[in-house]
């Protein structure tokens, strides 16, 4: 074990970000949010409240939705992180991104990366969410522009399209 009498020091942390292995040298208590934005240049995750209330810093860590402002980077070691930058397939938007565009789910855009990741997290677990389930899945993400209705509609539409795609892929008929 290290000798800690010399005081805090930076450590090397390896993890996977949007499918690519990355290494950073950081103080263990640096927030994952800051490491993503400042070290890795991934500025999609936003800082809103900085205390886990608003969800604008949401990312997926090992598949689970987390507020990256509340994750000390040491706890992200060896994990798989997905940020909003990792959702689209090249120039092809993710079904959620497309639906948000079409349904006016994004306005000023600050909450949008977190909203979309929270929605992606929900749809991975629940292919046919009810409106209430969508609202619950997004309840930790605050939006000050849209009034939420367009966001909920966008997620419902993405769920429908995702399901159609799933039916197409499996050869099932609706």
């Amino acid at each position: 074990m290290n000798d800690f009498r010399e005081g805090p020091r930076k450590v090397e942390i390896a993890f996977t970000v949007n499918g690519e292995p990355r290494k950073v040298c950081a103080y263990p208590m640096e927030r994952l949010l800051d490491v993503l934005r400042l070290e890795l240049g991934l500025t999609g995750a936003k800082e809103g409240c900085g205390e886990g209330e608003c969800g604008s810093c949401s990312v997926l860590m090992n598949g689970g939705l987390v507020n990256s402002c509340l994750v000390p980077v040491l706890q992200a070691a060896d994990s798989e992180i997905v940020t909003i930058e990792g959702l689209a397939d090249g120039e092809t938007l993710h079904v959620l991104q497309q639906a948000f565009l079409e349904y006016g789910g994004a306005q000023c855009g600050i909450c949008t990366p977190g909203m979309i990741l929270a929605a992606a997290h929900l749809l991975q677990r629940n292919h046919e969410p009810t409106i209430e389930e969508i609202r619950e899945g997004l309840s930790g993400n605050l939006c000050r522009c849209t009034g939420y209705s367009q966001i909920v509609e966008a997620v419902a539409e993405a769920a429908r399209r995702g399901l159609e795609q799933h039916h197409d892929e499996t050869g099932a008929t609706a």
Partner: protein, 475 residues
């Protein structure tokens, strides 16, 4: 002022043994951090007392749930999501499942831990009254060994606990003896999600021969520590629940709590609401729990009582097209039998907004047609179990379907007139009514004023829902 990460040490030793050794070597120097939902907030505000943290996140020894015949042992590092996903907790410990559902949003549920909630010792924490009600025991571990103590003794004052500086909370044990009890939980906050409670209740009760045979009542946010209401329990134990006992219980409850004025609420408000919550629980206990057993008399209802809330909403939605009604019905679970279900439905229906009533009306097909209107702008994109609802509509309107062409034509014209007059489709409880009877009712109701007609339509919808609920139980 924001903390500077270069001032803080953090280690992740990766095993329980290594962590308790570290705590023993420098007692009080190392602050354990699990999912960080409390610690990182203090850190961000520059308010962490120490500069050394030891990570417990994802420690396998703390993140397991073991079930034996007598108890369930929940690792202190289990997240709220872990609790929500555990089938036995959902079935046998609904108070804890509800608290897990109410704590923060999904991201915080993925990181916040039961142990963290206990050790952080906020009197407003949602899970703590549930642990009091279930008479939890805690297992603390250190290099000196394990010790087990009743949770009710753990909090000694505001944010003070019995845990020694070299100790770590390892697990929470809940006895499996409360399965036959009515479980009642309610949180009163500024909004449903992401809100810290103004007052919350977790309670268990069982009636026998018309009197309260056993009872546990615990409240959060009404004292420096989460509180078990011993005096209130004593006031009702062995008694019939009548107006006098309810008054005694309210007096006892308001006498044994010590709420404060703070940013979220006032002492006066909390006192009133605490009394209301206790009375609400006792009323429900009286109404429902005579028949509540480990397994309900009706399989459909027993299964529905155990469903996650989202699925419960979908399952009951065909009985009434108002989404608020379905949500509230799901929230009122468990319901013990048909009488409790119908009573809950009637009460819920009467409590709804007008827009909710109209939403329910619009889910029906026009009398004589087979499908609900598709031209409605308010129709939600996803219609759960629409097929079932449509099948029931067809049964209900059988007499009209079988009527002769002339009658159908007259009925269709009258329907259109009604829609022009009131701006929505005509709702009538058609079960058992012939086409001429329906026409007679429709003609009479065309003379109603708007308010009287809304009330009459709502009453018809209430009857339709009641008939459908009865059919639903027979599936």
């Amino acid at each position: 002022m924001r903390a500077n990460p270069s001032d803080y040490e953090m280690v992740a030793p990766g095993s329980l043994q290594a962590i308790v050794s570290l705590l023993a070597r420098e007692p009080g120097a190392w602050l354990p951090i699990a999912g960080g939902t409390d610690v990182m907030v203090q850190y961000a505000a520059g308010k962490l007392p120490g500069r050394k943290l030891v990570s417990l996140w994802n420690l396998p020894e703390l993140r397991r749930i073991d079930v034996t015949a007598d108890e369930i042992r929940i690792g202190a590092g289990c997240t709220y999501t872990d609790l929500r996903q555990h089938a036995l907790i959902g079935r046998d410990f609904p108070l804890l499942a509800a608290a897990a559902r109410w704590t923060g949003g999904i991201a915080n549920q993925n990181r916040g831990t039961l142990g963290g909630n206990i050790v952080n010792a906020s009197p407003a924490a949602d899970s703590l009254p549930a642990l009091l009600a279930y008479e939890a025991e805690l297992i603390l571990v250190s290099v000196r060994g394990e010790r087990r103590l009743p949770y009710v003794t753990f909090h000694t004052g505001y944010k003070k606990t019995l845990m020694a500086q070299d100790e770590l909370l390892q697990a929470v044990c809940l006895p499996r003896r409360f399965t036959g009890y009515l479980a009642h939980a309610r949180k009163v906050g500024a909004r449903n999600a992401q809100a810290i409670s103004k007052v919350c209740i977790a309670a268990l009760g069982r009636m026998a021969n018309g009197v309260v045979e056993d009872i546990r009542i615990a409240l959060g946010s009404v004292a420096p520590v989460p509180l078990r209401l011993w005096a209130t329990e004593h006031a009702v134990l062995g008694k019939r629940i009548d107006a006098l006992v309810l008054a005694l219980a309210r007096t006892a409850a308001t006498g044994e709590i010590h709420p404060i004025d703070d940013i979220r609420s006032s002492a006066k408000y909390r006192t009133t609401v605490a009394g209301n919550l206790v009375v609400e629980f006792l009323n429900r206990l009286n109404a429902e729990s005579a028949e509540v057993g480990p397994v309900g008399p009706n399989d459909v209802l027993a299964r529905w009582n155990l469903l996650p809330v989202g699925q419960a909403i979908i399952a009951i939605q065909p009985c009434c097209g108002s989404s608020a009604w379905a949500q509230k019905m799901a929230d009122r679970r468990p319901l013990s039998d048909e009488a409790a279900l119908l009573a809950a439905s009637n009460e819920t229906w009467r409590s709804l907004q007008r827009s909710d009533w109209i939403e329910a009306f619009q889910s029906h097909p026009r009398i004589g047609e087979s499908r609900a209107s598709e031209a409605l702008p308010t129709q939600p994109p996803i219609q759960p179990r629409a097929a079932e609802s449509a099948a029931w509509s067809a049964q209900e309107q059988q007499a009209v379907t079988d009527a002769d062409a002339d009658t159908k034509k007259i009925l269709a014209d009258a329907n259109r007139e009604y829609e022009q007059r009131f701006g929505r489709i005509f709702i009538v409880c058609a079960t058992g009514k012939s086409a001429p009877e329906i026409l007679q009712i429709l003609t009479r109701r065309l003379n109603n004023d708007a308010e009287a007609e809304l009330q009459e339509a709502a009453e018809q919808q209430r009857q339709i829902t009641e008939i459908r609920l009865k059919k639903w139980l027979q599936r």
